[in-house]
Amino acid sequence: MNDQLLLTPDQRDALQEVTNIAMGQAGAQLAQILEVFVQLSVPRINITESANIAGNILQLVGTPQSVTAIRQAFSGTLRGEAMVVYDENGCRDLADLMGYEDDIDRDSERELLLDVGNVLVGACLNGIAELLQAKLSFSAPTIMAENVEVGRLINPQQLTWNYALLVEVHFTLEVRDFTCHLMTLMPEESIVALKSALDAFMENF
């Protein structure tokens, strides 16, 4: 791999901390929507060849279960894709927590996943952008896949990138067995831009 793309230990640490701060804002919003306590994870960061992205995502999500995911593209100082991955029970759980009865139809369920995903992506990525003095805009969220195996979420052949930076956080609820993963994928030129933004950020301390 091109050394220019590797994060130094300091850059990795700073990205982890910046992500942690932003995730706190996203988690607080999720807690407010669902009226439950949300547990935050330690952010995980990985630079991978595009061909290995699917395997990396599988490893981060943990189990080869079927998932539903939404995606949102972002552009600006940094460019890439954000995804929120819900496990099989995730949709049901969200609907329950938000007070829907059993009769929620598929369209309302999708809308719920898109809305929650949009809140998490917006809070998290805007939080990172704000700390790093970057500017981002987002596409509308869309359903990326429904009930597919985690490993099939992304078809590496459709990616035009050689390498990607993968940043993963997950939100867990205490009251039930619910976890959703928020993942951000960025291509080479954004990795380079991110590294300079992290260096500039670290110079303040």
């Binding site: 995730m23 706190g24 988690g27 306590f37 330690v42």
Partner: protein
């Protein structure tokens, strides 16, 4: 004599940010810990009259540190410094004996006013 303070966070960056936000004239001896277990070890060596404690950490998290201190009847001025801004997180750490809660990124003026509020010598 300098006040022994302990800065606990798994991120080196976060510890630097916190240390930079400490009041300028405060005479302190700073020890750093990267997780809850290291924090407890430093505490037991008398290095934590004041502890700045992160919540989300590997090995043993901030809640675990507070629970241990409480279960063993130990006292330290613990100021939780966290990105977790849920009201319930704040309430829980208070119940576990933390004096105050500061959200990340840390505002220097906030640290100083908390220290003054609790009469910690500056």
């Amino acid at each position: 004599m300098p006040t022994p303070i302990l800065v606990v966070d798994d991120s080196v960056m976060a510890r630097k940010m916190l240390i930079k936000a400490l009041p300028a004239g405060w005479d302190v001896e700073i020890t750093q810990a990267g997780n809850g277990l290291e924090a407890l070890a430093a505490y037991r060596e008398g290095k934590a009259e004041v502890m700045f404690l992160d919540l989300t950490m590997p090995e043993l998290d901030g809640y675990g540190v507070l629970e241990t201190l409480q279960a063993e009847g130990l006292n330290s001025f613990v100021i939780v410094v966290s990105a977790d801004i849920q009201p319930l997180a704040r309430e829980r750490v208070r119940q576990l004996g933390a004096l105050a809660f500061v959200k990340k990124p840390v505002e220097p003026t906030q640290i100083e006013s908390i220290l003054r509020e609790y009469g910690i010598a500056l």
